[in-house]
Symmetry: D3
């Protein structure tokens, strides 16, 4: 039997197939009975699942990240798809094709990383080139980039999501920068690479997704500037000259201002052309990704609209996705 992927699930389907456990919690209901609440994932998304009348032993029989053979039934609950699990059993990862269970295959992640290397190695500004190298030679950082999500929810909230967002933004920059004389493409590319990079340490994502203490208390904007200071020193060491100070200043400014407004957590508003452009292009990429995700995942409920998307503060008009405008007009 071929697999039913999560974004294809309809209401009231009986299931008997493998999922990856993205997270799990053993909880009490109000009566004090235990149940198991899980997020089960495959490469097309994640779905909430409940197993009633669970116990500690069952909960201890597997970990987040494991694979489970799951028997159950789908249903709609509060406007979202859900699986009521009747049986589950751990499965050996070797017996399955794990590529089916991650939004990004490890091959895809490798390609994305290669893409970053390629774009940044093409920078014509030698200082920026050395700076990029200082980052990309940091094996620990590179390892984290490959795994970090871009956000807790909504946009690119999965392993590799940060990398995917960075690559999309780098490519967008190569399209947009040549259109404006006042944009220094090298600088803007470097800003696109750096703006969210400290998310590798702001978030924790080894098991369940969350914020690190430093992420909560300091945040990726300030953390990013601290790291930049260190990498700029490393980048400049071979030459014996300090890293060009105005260039460093403009990079720091892009990082701290990229949220665009004080009340969105940027201590400074964008005041250079590259900082202005970075803010808008980053926001555009994030919002379109959130759109893509919202429209892809809750396919079943309302043909015209997604559910309310908290991160965007609105619901979205779905009809656009399938290009219905054109098709309708073309008939």
């Amino acid at each position: 039997m071929t697999r039913r992927f999560i974004n294809e699930l309809g209401e009231n389907e009986a299931l008997d197939q493998v999922f990856r456990v993205q997270s799990k919690r053993l909880r009490s209901n109000r009566n004090g009975n235990l149940y198991l609440q899980m997020d089960l994932a495959d490469r097309t998304g994640a779905v909430n699942a409940m197993l009633w009348n669970a116990n500690q032993q069952l909960n201890d029989s597997f970990e987040s990240g494991d694979y489970l053979q799951v028997k159950g039934k789908t249903q709609f609950f509060s406007g979202s798809m859900q699986i009521i699990v009747s049986e589950l059993e751990p499965v050996d990862a070797k017996t399955i094709d794990t590529a089916d269970y991650f939004p990004l295959t490890s091959q895809k992640v490798d390609e994305l990383l290669e893409k970053v290397r390629q774009i940044l190695s093409g920078l014509s500004n030698p200082s920026l080139c050395q700076l990029a190298e200082a980052y990309l030679l940091d094996a620990q950082l590179v390892e984290k980039i490959q795994r970090a999500p871009a956000a807790m929810k909504n946009h690119h909230a999965y392993h590799g999501g940060l990398l995917e967002h960075i690559v999309s933004l780098l490519e967008l920059v190569t399209r947009v920068a040549p259109h404006y004389d006042e944009l220094d493409q090298d600088l803007l590319l470097m800003g696109a690479f750096l703006h969210d990079l400290a998310k590798v340490d702001e978030l924790v994502y080894d098991t369940e997704l969350g914020y690190s203490d430093e992420g909560e208390l300091v945040g990726h904007l300030v953390m990013g500037v601290v790291t930049l200071e260190e990498k700029a020193r490393q980048a400049a060491e071979p030459s014996g000259e300090p890293f060009p100070p105005v260039l460093l200043l403009r990079l720091k400014h892009m990082i701290v201002s990229h949220h665009g407004r004080l009340d969105y957590g940027s201590p400074k508003v964008p005041m250079t052309p590259e900082a202005i452009a970075l803010h808008f292009l980053d926001d555009l990429d994030a919002k379109l990704q959130a759109f893509r995700q919202a429209t892809a995942m809750d396919a079943g409920s309302n043909p015209g609209w997604t559910n309310y998307v908290p991160a965007l503060g609105r619901k979205l008009y779905r009809t656009g996705v399938a290009g219905s405008g054109n098709e309708e007009a073309a008939q």
Copy 2:
């Protein structure tokens, strides 16, 4: 003697050359004495000018739009360049090369209009194609497009400015849309064409720049939807079929939501991918143009920073324009 263009003027220069009168007012000072306050323009910008001890007769000797031979001296006042005029005399437009006196030559305006026609005629969606035609066959509208500014101040605030903004945005769309599967390029191009088009009637620009009564009381977002309704009817007439209603709805939505937030005057926030993209790309284009203008015009005062730009709520770091980042790094 070669002309000193406005963006080249330094402090304390003696001048004796021709300017175009962009606006003029005869005013009283607190003592009741009359003086003439003018905005004098050439193709690089406009500069405030004062002639003290003026009188009604002098004021009546020329109109806004005329050319004047001006004798005077430049000075800095409140952080802006100003001309203290000692003598002025009307000049026949035929004796000068008027191309020196407009940001956009009429040839440039023709090219921009041609660019719009070319891009819109390339739309693959036949309904949108017919709609574009309905707009571009409206001679009165086309005449206004060629003259309308894009704003009262800041971005593209000069004749032809609206057209320039539209073309820049159309070209930007052709760069960005292919990067995102969820964007319907035709729809986004049409939105870019339409979003500000009602500014041709929101603003008045025959003599001095200002708002029309309808501009103040209704605004270009709502005016644009009213016109779209009419043009869609015209576009659909030949076929006997109504204009595709979902397509029309999505166009209207792009127009009303393009300011992005309710408190910025959009009665709806963007809820389709094209409306989201239009908002960000429009804002990006407008803000970079405002940057360009702010940095170009007050070249003399502070080497690092522009004056505070009210429309952006900030001052801008000028060093970026000349690519100093790169140059510094490259040495």
Copy 3:
């Protein structure tokens, strides 16, 4: 047995009587069991009802709008009255007096519509008179006015509610306008008639109450201006003269500005006396109606206060309704 009306229901009452089904949904609980959730209505209001252990067949046995004989018991849940239904059975509408099941009887709706016709036919401004006629001769529009609610929730959220709100506002205008020389009563009456009229197409109310796609994406302010443009053209046709443009402009302004603030969705703030008055009187009428509804409906819980009313962002002090101030003072 005489009927217990919904606004008379107390806690723990056993019921066996007919209700009109206002809406219904078959839902799963977390365990995957189906239940039926309904809003049951009569002329005094609506009440949430639950039938546990439902199934598809039961759900298919009736439609929204049908009448049901309902057996069950009332209870308080989360501060609201609710009916736990044990049995239900469809009832033929012919066997009951349907006037008991709608807030407004069809006779009352007819009277309200007649009232609108009467007030608008009394306008002394001939252009406005013709304009009113253009609206009232539109049979499709008139049919919708008779059915449309004034809002999704809170104020006048029931069939005929829009008409009731319009009539209340028209009558309020005839009381207030003579008090102020600067108010043009005809203009203000027309504004009161038009300001929310596009709600007939912004909302859908054939079965369950909701927003139309155009309502979500464009909104009744802009939709109202588009319709006004068309009706003004029709009104002016017989005379061969265009509709007086300043008059049209002032009407459009009243429509777009009647929410009073940009962040409440008006793209323009009120700038004419009539627009200012319309905003305040509309808000007064809506808020007092919301008060009436909030105090009428949850009579049982707290003698002094209503529940928190989300649309008003506050709870309301109920003691006022029965005029206790006076009574207390008079004793």
Copy 4:
């Protein structure tokens, strides 16, 4: 020669007539020279006036409140009418008809006060009747009511202005209250009388208009509640019973909530029908009065629009005042 009233003044008129001095200041310009800046008033308004090269002696020759024979010339300055005074001479008040110099004649003020007495003596609630009497028997308060303005600027900012606002609001209440069953007319009338009454002590208006220290530090909302507490005690004394506590509470609530929002200085939002109505009707009356004043006073500059009115945060479309809508349409 007949008097030119202030609201009739055009540009460049030579004047030689009497004005009342509303305020005056002897000031230095930047060069250290003294000049006299005055607000000169008659019954139609006030106009700024400057006398250059003044001295201490001239300044000491008259007081605010005196009448001056003024020679000078009108001019426009910064968009407002202004008088450049060449000569001035004090005039004995007995030689002129002072009714020409106050917006409200003392006869008119007497009538307004009588109107208040009449409306409040008609209250059917005996407690409120006694309370009104407690206020109106307070001779010091009544004296102040006759003189107090309703605001520092914009609406009713002249002696008697508070009384005028109160009467307008009382009359408006008698029109509106019968329209709504949930409004207790007596209570709302009393609220209309009390809501701004503490302005008699919040403002100072013996010479120049300003705030008292208590006005600045405590404000008329809280001051009004303190006075109400005292008057309610007095009103109840004869009966030996305390003033009905719920009635008192509802009156206090109307006073503290009448600005409608916390950020407008109301520590509570309106939560009773009368408090809701008072807020909207008060705001309506104040804004229409501000409109009337703005359109009356700067008649000369722009035919269609007033200047920007800071208190309203907008400019106003003047064409409405003269009923141009109707007239245009009626032709």
Copy 5:
């Protein structure tokens, strides 16, 4: 068996011990079954408790304020500790040491009150001294002060909490005032005593915690000024002189402005040094108390962080409490 205090409770503990009933409600679940929801308290805090399948008779067998022998089991539910009660039985208060059941023992409350008397009797300003006496001689007020909480939730939300907050603030003032020459310590102490005092009548706390009608409709800031007016009159009576008016004004200002911002419910912002200091010190004391409470109560869930604290709009980093910074550093 020694008592397990509430702040020591872990997950899954079996309990059989006495609690004080802080509040209780008999409720229906969605199925119409009754359950009993209680807040059970001891001196370390309060915990939510549920008894399923309750009935009216059980509910009537005890009151809020009674003591119950409770059998049950703890569990985590929605991130908070909860007790699932299997059995309960009323217990005679005489058989237990009630000091275990209140955050503040009555002895502690007496000490706090004595502390207030001592600090205020030490005021060197005789008028303030007499004023303090007028308050402290009011037996009814003093009785309420001993019982009133300082807030509905979060900071000092228990009987005696208001007194505790006042004493903490008075002591803080004696530490801070000497540091600043511009602070009048007597005035600031009196402000600290008065600022929240009207909470004794704004809140109701005889059984369940809530707002009085006057608390909702008028609020403790305005109520406090009304009482101050009366107490100042009483304080001044013996001397035959009125209470010094500027002093009274400054006290009133401290009361009305102590929330610091209009949108936080203060009709005036602080404009004197003492009002500025009172606002910051009050806020500091309240927020640190909220921190203390949040970190003390939910000890079990996350070692590093408290749950989200709605009143603070954030969660709190717990590690600070145990001084981990120092300890870590000192090792």
Copy 6:
């Protein structure tokens, strides 16, 4: 003749004495004439001064920081004291007692610095002690601390002002911290020392006061964290152990959160007790200093109130300073 200090100056005084030039600009008026605008200072404050009909030569005859013998006359202009200078002549600094010309004498600055050293050397936490040493051994930093102002305007806006603010805050911490068990005094002292320290590089103050490019584009919060990272590394070097990470995190958090709100430029809100306390105490100290300065400087105009203080968004009630409350009451 004894010197008239700036805070003693009355209107219309003739002056002939020495001032320090704090800043100067040669400017054109609207007519193109040159004048010299200066801020002249002594130890009690600064005052604006104008010399009309200046020229380049006069302007070149002295620098900011020089001392001038000034002849002129005081006047009020726009509510502020001003000097109209008729003559000026440079004076040799050796001939005067420079202590009269700085708010803080260099001896006072030495004492303040010594106070910092003393308080920080008393920290019992060894890591924090070493960290403080790392800062205080940085000679370049210490030199800047002695000169840096605490702000561009308002609070501590003069050389040494930053140091004065730090010392006041450190002393305030030693008073407040012992009052709260949850405050770690060492940590809070270190936070008080560090929170604004990067102002030494955010501002420029060698000649005229202003922002550095890094101050504008990155800001002192982020700059402070970058420096802390470096100093913590230095502090930990001798031990061979890294600086305790949680301690470092808590220090960083205090720096980034000390503005208290996102819209005030803090990318994080305070989430530890020390960060909460630092925010309130810092704000209290800054606002009281602003009060002190506002009331000290414009002594002449209004006896009861200062001018509007833009940084506080209000004017201040002056009567408090001289303790009038007490005095009045004590009479």
